[in-house]
Amino acid sequence: MKTRYFVGLLAMLLVGLTLSQQGPFQQRVQQAINSGGSKFAETMKQDRDQALCSQYRDKLPPEEVGAFLERQRALIKYPADGKLMGDWKQGEALFTNPRKGNCYACHTGDPKEAGAGRMGPGLVGYGQRGTSEAVVKYTYDKIYNAWASMPCSLMYRAGHHGILTPEETAHVTAFLLDPASPVNAKR
């Protein structure tokens, strides 16, 4: 009886503690978000690192970076067969499709694609860096979870959010690295 009472009290204390960790301003922000309607509030929910990026206006202080990158790295999943480079042709379609990668919104890839955005670095000739294990893994990881190498990057975490499956991520990786891909056509 007594211990149960004690556990209950402890739980209440803990709940109180976590609640009070959210300052009055953050509570006010949450209240405003809720007033926008339940669907808005639902889609505005943040994971821990989205909240951290918002708090620091997308520029993390150095002491936060290490743990942030570690948490993001832990989110990366790989294809069951372990192959990080798939079929570049399927990758091309995924790269282009606005519902999937939508990569042209920010990157040039195949230089023939008109009207590509320039928020991200140009990727024409990306395959020049070769297909060593390190390059392939870096590229795969970047596409699956951009935040695992660059905290709060503009580039969204396509794999983490399920926009690309691990297999699809491998296809897009091939689109960038395969020497036969139009990204790497000799010019």
């Binding site: 301003f25 309607g37 639902e42 519902r99 939508n102 919104a105 008109a114 320039r118 969204y156």
Partner: protein, 265 residues
Amino acid sequence: MRNRSLWIGFLLALGLGLSIALTQQQEVDPYKEAERQRELFRQTAGILPGELYAAQGEELFGQKRGSKNVSLEACDFGLGPGKLEGALTQLPRYFADTRRVEDLETRIVSCMVNLQGFKPEEIKRDDVKALTAFVASKSSEMPINVVPKTSQEIAMYNLGRELWYHRAGDRDMNCAICHDSYAGGKVRLSPVRSPRQGLSNEWPAYRFEADKLYTLQDRIAFCYESVSIHPPDHYSEPMIALSIYMLTEATKGKNKFTELPGFTR
């Protein structure tokens, strides 16, 4: 899984979609294109669609309506009852009678409820839009002058700034990523401006690509949809907070409103 068709909707509606990129070999300058479309309207119809909405709003404004059967002529937009000249330039602001910070659209709704006796659920969105176009037309090309002063206005501005940086959704987006980090650049074909550069200074506007009148709230909703976040309800705090944030920054950047209602893509 959240709805991704919203993202594609954004791209298509903004003319950033693939089909457009492929059919238009040359990148059209969106400003020149808007200018061309505007001239076309002037020549063929003799009137701009925005002016039609404003005329419709003017009629509604003067009509005796609602359960109290009065017009909106006694509505106070912050400069005194019935004073419309330049009213939009100082909105959103705090109103003592409703005890909240209101933007133009919200203020119109408040007056329809409190003055005319409408029930909130009776109010038609299209009426509010036409009325917004009419009242805004009295601030055409005037300098924006939104300076939060009261504690309520300052609090609302701070909320807006927080929402501006709020990263969420499966595109990990916030407003700042496109409108600050990339201001002056392009997302696909669209040039993007920052609040200091005057973002939000052309609304309400007729968007010829959508063939509809968009208020500032509609435009905010459109950007939320584009990053697969369900937009906040009209007249809700997030709408007003983001508006006061953007218009305060536009004031700091010494920007003017364009012709109102605006004419844009």
